[in-house]
Amino acid sequence: MRFGVIRFPGSCDDVDALLACRRVGEAELLWHADRDLRGVDAVVVPGGFSYGDYLRAGAIARFAPVMAQVAEFARAGGIVLGICNGFQVLCEAGLLPGALLPNTSLRFVFRQVALEVASTDSPFTCGCEIGRRLSIPVKHTTGRFYAPADQLRALHAEDRILLRYAPGHNPNGSLDDIAGVCNEGRNVFGLMPHPEHAVDPLTGSVDGLAIFESIRAHVAGRALV
């Protein structure tokens, strides 16, 4: 399968995401100003500080030309993974519910946190078991997940919270320890932790590979149908 990783001005973890995707398939960079997803099977909106995070994190990137294509791709059921700043962009773009607010500490936090898989009913977690712990780093200033009460109820009722911070590991004050959520169609997923920074035993844990391998398995299974 082939991943496309979007590069905005200010993307920082774009190459990291590219390298992580290449551990399970092919991957290429997609330029923010192009209106072409080049037929990729899955899109990754990576971490960083797109457009300097000026105004609000993700607020300007969502209007990049490539994002119109991403929205269309998502509406057609395409797999979209937003990591950290990518999660913020997808929320701003309305492709995911909720918003990311400044951490309660008001500080940037880097921390290797423990996550728990809360739902395996998604292309992103289908290779995991419920309750499996993943050791993955977070690094952000604006990662406190918030959703108004009605949206939050829907997220719970529809089993759309895919990852939670394990008890005691919530680094930012996110509601209900939410680390990552998907859309109604379950094909768009955003998370604050960085699975692309947990794919190599040399540099840390390999638990993030579970997300990328799940996507590969899902796409492979879909191709068989």
């Binding site: 105004l55 609000r56 607020a59 300007i60 209007f63 701003e92 909720g98 918003a99 607010l101 400044p102 951490n103 309660t104 500490s105 008001l106 406190r144 918030y146 959703a147 108004p148 004050g173």
Partner: protein, 76 residues
């Protein structure tokens, strides 16, 4: 016209910046301070002020978490 858009956290949303300021002021001897909220100010020259609310809803604020107020700052 010269316009000002005041952006502030939506009522009821945890505002740690506001809380930090609210805690800091008494430490400096300023008492009787409550309900501190920290937002931001956007100043701009606009030809058509009627477009301002839509600008606010689409880009300048995130309506899920922020309220805004448009202030006429007089002619530029």
């Amino acid at each position: 016209m010269r316009a000002r858009v005041l952006v502030k956290p939506k009522a009821g949303i945890l505002d740690p910046q506001g809380q930090a300021v609210e805690r800091a002021l008494p430490a400096l001897g300023f008492t009787g301070v409550a309900n501190v909220h920290v937002g931001r100010l956007i100043e701009l020259d606009v030809e058509d002020p009627d477009q301002l609310p839509e600008m606010c809803r689409r880009l300048l604020t995130n309506p899920l978490i922020e309220d805004f107020e448009i202030v006429d700052a007089g002619s530029s």
